[in-house]
Symmetry: D4
Subunit: 219 residues, 8 copies
Amino acid sequence: MSIKQARLDLNRRKRLGMVEAIWGENKTSEQIVEILKCLHSAGELALVTRVNSEKAKETKELLENVEFHSEARCLTLGSPAEKNPLLGEVVVLGGGTSDLYVASEAELALRWHGIQTDLLLDVGVAGLSRLLNQLDRLKSAKVLIACAGMEGALPTVLAGLVPQPVIGVPVSVGYGVSLGGKTALEGMLASCAPGLVVVNIDNGYGAAMAALRILKKDF
Amino acid sequence: MSIKQARLDLNRRKRLGMVEAIWGENKTSEQIVEILKCLHSAGELALVTRVNSEKAKETKELLENVEFHSEARCLTLGSPAEKNPLLGEVVVLGGGTSDLYVASEAELALRWHGIQTDLLLDVGVAGLSRLLNQLDRLKSAKVLIACAGMEGALPTVLAGLVPQPVIGVPVSVGYGVSLGGKTALEGMLASCAPGLVVVNIDNGYGAAMAALRILKKDF
Amino acid sequence: MSIKQARLDLNRRKRLGMVEAIWGENKTSEQIVEILKCLHSAGELALVTRVNSEKAKETKELLENVEFHSEARCLTLGSPAEKNPLLGEVVVLGGGTSDLYVASEAELALRWHGIQTDLLLDVGVAGLSRLLNQLDRLKSAKVLIACAGMEGALPTVLAGLVPQPVIGVPVSVGYGVSLGGKTALEGMLASCAPGLVVVNIDNGYGAAMAALRILKKDF
Amino acid sequence: MSIKQARLDLNRRKRLGMVEAIWGENKTSEQIVEILKCLHSAGELALVTRVNSEKAKETKELLENVEFHSEARCLTLGSPAEKNPLLGEVVVLGGGTSDLYVASEAELALRWHGIQTDLLLDVGVAGLSRLLNQLDRLKSAKVLIACAGMEGALPTVLAGLVPQPVIGVPVSVGYGVSLGGKTALEGMLASCAPGLVVVNIDNGYGAAMAALRILKKDF
Amino acid sequence: MSIKQARLDLNRRKRLGMVEAIWGENKTSEQIVEILKCLHSAGELALVTRVNSEKAKETKELLENVEFHSEARCLTLGSPAEKNPLLGEVVVLGGGTSDLYVASEAELALRWHGIQTDLLLDVGVAGLSRLLNQLDRLKSAKVLIACAGMEGALPTVLAGLVPQPVIGVPVSVGYGVSLGGKTALEGMLASCAPGLVVVNIDNGYGAAMAALRILKKDF
Amino acid sequence: MSIKQARLDLNRRKRLGMVEAIWGENKTSEQIVEILKCLHSAGELALVTRVNSEKAKETKELLENVEFHSEARCLTLGSPAEKNPLLGEVVVLGGGTSDLYVASEAELALRWHGIQTDLLLDVGVAGLSRLLNQLDRLKSAKVLIACAGMEGALPTVLAGLVPQPVIGVPVSVGYGVSLGGKTALEGMLASCAPGLVVVNIDNGYGAAMAALRILKKDF
Amino acid sequence: MSIKQARLDLNRRKRLGMVEAIWGENKTSEQIVEILKCLHSAGELALVTRVNSEKAKETKELLENVEFHSEARCLTLGSPAEKNPLLGEVVVLGGGTSDLYVASEAELALRWHGIQTDLLLDVGVAGLSRLLNQLDRLKSAKVLIACAGMEGALPTVLAGLVPQPVIGVPVSVGYGVSLGGKTALEGMLASCAPGLVVVNIDNGYGAAMAALRILKKDF
Amino acid sequence: MSIKQARLDLNRRKRLGMVEAIWGENKTSEQIVEILKCLHSAGELALVTRVNSEKAKETKELLENVEFHSEARCLTLGSPAEKNPLLGEVVVLGGGTSDLYVASEAELALRWHGIQTDLLLDVGVAGLSRLLNQLDRLKSAKVLIACAGMEGALPTVLAGLVPQPVIGVPVSVGYGVSLGGKTALEGMLASCAPGLVVVNIDNGYGAAMAALRILKKDF
């Protein structure tokens, strides 16, 4: 049944200009392989998110062309779309190494759509100078994606410093009150910085698709 | 003290390319007038949000040039920025008349920055045909702002139908579980539509500033 | 002790016109077998819900006539009640393959009571056309059960399109704010569609019993 | 703008077989009158819910044919639909006098659609004998609507005693943990009685429309 | 360090008239044995709560006189206090077999203090007749402890039927909104039955100690 | 309708041995008077809780024999039951003057049932010596009711010091995290003191009825 | 009764080295005057917090020597303690004018204990340069109190920049998810900056007393 | 990438006067070793928090000089800073053995910075005499850190008894409403004891760093 769905989705996603993405968390490696084969036979690229290393290994045993991106916890089949420099660059920022998975998912998803990207980690607000040192670097970006767990203040500080679109991604890293990412999420929504937008906790792929919509708005 | 703040904010907002906005909810009419005069003497436009009709009346008695936009619950002083058709149009959608205040705040804030706007109400998901009838109308928009209370499904449905950037604004209308807008907010964040972004509950101004960042990204 | 309970429940359930159902989640395979044997010796059908494949395997080793319905995560003993076409058909809808378990539990529970059913998956609101294409198909149904995770908008959209009773079942699929199904639940309760009713998260069996009460109201 | 909406809604509601209902809580008496006039000129009945006595008085001064139902906090214009005895009777039950408003809203909404109704108050679970004494009386009902605040146990107890469809309506009466009706709502959703369905807190109108869908399923 | 604590606690508990109880959930079998030996050498009884079968087995291998009560998930060392019939009987009631662990913990804790007890399961409110059939049986009890998960209505119904002290114990059984026992807890606190008192979720031991304080108030 | 209810309740309450209490918060003075007259003509005492001074004044104008107890926010009609010294004394403690309303409601409700009471305020845990100075005073009490807002630690400390039954009453005094009394409630439920029982926030009357059940258990 | 309490508190507060503070929010002006007179006759200073302008006016009419500090919403009687420069200075910072009340309460409470203070407003994180410009100014402070509403990021950023003790005070300013200050509170607790401590929402007085404990630790 | 981060952090931490700490919970033993080697080659001490015994064992196999402190669940490399008696002593208190991990983390972190410390367990508020017996012992401490789970009342009681700075650390021990430590946290924030400050749940390291800031304020 899921194969028919994948096929139907192709139409919708194509209309929206997006590569097919499959949420891998609740799927078995067999289900993932079935969907990937279906997409492949249709000549389509594919991106599977939220795949841990065991499931990745199982999937590769079943379908050897699959590639695992361990930092992004994603599987891909086929090559990324050709780079389209006209659309401009997206910079993905993270507060710490704990944000790596989510930031990498966003970065990979964009790269797979042919978008030029850069990844800047360790620019958290508890050590402001590192972020301030990067401000010049950020000028060339068309869109910024800022991932942060704990109190989630990075996107707020960033949106007060630069005029571009800033997409905040709360990360479910932390303990006590920050367990699960809700504190980071609410901190970003409550932000005093004007024009900051937010996606669901850990939703790197969603932030990437939002950036894609923004980059493609004139095309 | 707030006057000095307003002056300082001018620098930051100018750098970000935004007209000064003042959150009127917790301020007295005297405080609002003091800030408006300060901005006026600096040759600046100004927008005061979250002003009820009593406070608006009091403020107009103190400063007669002030204009009250009752549907948006906003005060303005001076004329809006000149319309800049190159930046493109933003369409603001609402599920019902209860979303009027929030949608109008977004629409007014954009219009005051010289952005071309349109306001489409009564396109809620409980009567889908009205929304589907407007799909052609939406094609020319560069960005869509979708306001919705209750279960907040409008932005989800919309982002599945169109490829542009969609900004969801949860509205604090409803009762029982939807009282305060949290259900609409979480529904938008949990959305299965890829690339939908969200701002705080009732934050029409924030959605407008996000749209502005998007429209200006190439300028 | 649980056997005595099962026997007592037979009286109540019979009065309510319902086949005995056992919640398998917190029971061991030994406890399940003991209850099933007791029901069998009383000439009764039985349905055990929330059984994973390991526990199903263990139970089958202890009682070989037991049948496992893996998509519905249910065990049954004996044959379903004879189909009663006079009561009419129930259609169970799901937003995605992640809703499969819950939708199948509802479908199986109804089928086991002799109700004619149909299962329509992949009709989520992020790709509206698939749902709209099925509207004619839904006309013959007496009751609709709509299962949805994430933002849970499917039952709201459905209840705005058709006049029949619609029972919403929130599904605990998702991450971040939608983790656990509470967002889907509250979205359904807050729905702007008139006359939508809701059951507990993942409660496919409960939705089936509600549909049964509705179908039997004139008998 | 709201008038156009009302007109559009007529089409949808007619298709769903429901009289137009207007949520009066956030509307001014002027807005209410405007909508009522529009409906009246279209030859339609109308029901305005959540109207307090002051707003009702104001509205009657503007439109004298309007009738106020103080126990249900509703305004109506025109006469109810002709009673249709073929559809069967709905009994609305309440745990205490504090449930009166919500139970009456449900009862009135049904009566206005031509449904035969009865209202049974003071049958709360803290004094079980009163409920048990009414069991015979409930046999003739096709659907039961059970309103309860505090711990909200009435629908659970009821659904364990009778085989008909039972719709639970949580009521926002109480203090401390039961303030706002969330405890009653969650108690009904968590119910151990099979096949109980629930609507939003205080949503008497919604429960009535759900009952209407059930009664009309064969027509 | 914990041994010294146990010794110190002896003084306090003795003054309060309670046998030493050790919360076993977060302790290793080694830590439990160390404490039990210390109590034994002081001539004291002991009760260890929240012990699963693996930890029980490990503990018995280290200290063979220990007795495991699997239904109550408790370990004891030594014999219970002599039965004191003057204090009167406590009846522990449960809504279903899922409440067995918690009800048995309460029952065992009381029995270990020399209190006469009885355990009545399967008297949940979804099948009222079973509870009503036991009312005569309850007359001789001095205190009632009612354990319930899901919506937790049993103590409310009970306290409306009998004049004795009723202690409600919410049980963390259920799924969706009732997951973790919070719905049962809040339902008991919000109860419309006068004079019902409540303890923490799953706190069978706490309910037993409350009953003990009540029974001993005149001694 | 409420009058009939009151009459029916008389039977139940009498069986439970409790004076009729009416929750005055959501009732008008006219409704209160109607119920009081009905009780009076039946020769019954009555207690109306949660009455502010304006409503009390209005009620006294309508029914002059009514007595207002401003510290307890209660109205009474008739004289209290004769004091019954055999049942023993209840001491009601409060952490601060902010607990006065709730503690007085408990104290008055007991006094009205003929129970001997004492009220000890200003024994909060932030100034332990005052509580420790009263320990001797507490020895003669059969039951203790401890009211506390903020962090609600008083009942925990008390139950560690004395062997009698202790009933904790959370009070909705405080701000920030303690606003509404939920922190005090959860603190009491989570208490490390064995055998502490709890009632709903601000439920002084409920605590009194629990104490009454305890005092009467042997009568 | 409250007077006796005030007297008793004098002993405790003196031992702790703190001036008597009275929480004015839930007290009438008569109650406040009674307590102030009692303190005055004992030769003590006094500080009443959370007093709005009406209550302040009423109180001044009853006791003319009382002084109202409108920005701090506090009343004082008598002169502040003599300034003690040896203890060092506390700087109180706020993100915006909305933090004024809370910051002023902290500042006044310290000044009244003889502590040298400074108040820096408008140093919110959405306009970082203003905060960075003040870093030199902060070097002389022994303790910093940082008040912030919305997302509450100011204390986090500050504690990453300076080595002194930083006390975060969440402020209940905002709307939507930040309504009531919980988002600011949790953001401060979840902070990635090491050694940041937090007090309750709006608790300027508490922060001041914490600063006082720190300043006096060597005296 | 994390190594570069560690190096950068050295600058910031040195400026703040703190030894480098690494949050070990979400890191692999390989990642931990990489960071430790980097710090070691820079001549720096290091502290890794939240390390369970398996991960500790794995890490020791990779880097033999590493020392595991099992009670504090921490790894260290190198010797602690030289003891600096001028800064004064910190006493860490805990309510029970369940608080051991968190209290030990705080104690170790301070000891590693050269601070003189003492650890007092089993001084919970349910057995007040043990705490009162230690009051003299506490006089010499400059700062007190009080760890408590369940209802978290220890810091409140302590701050009412002593004039020094008291830092409350909520501990995630408990079940039912106290599961996860939120009840303890909110109890400490809501505390009626003036000047109590709080850190995140289980954040022993954060409390230690706060104490360090306080001790160093004059150096």
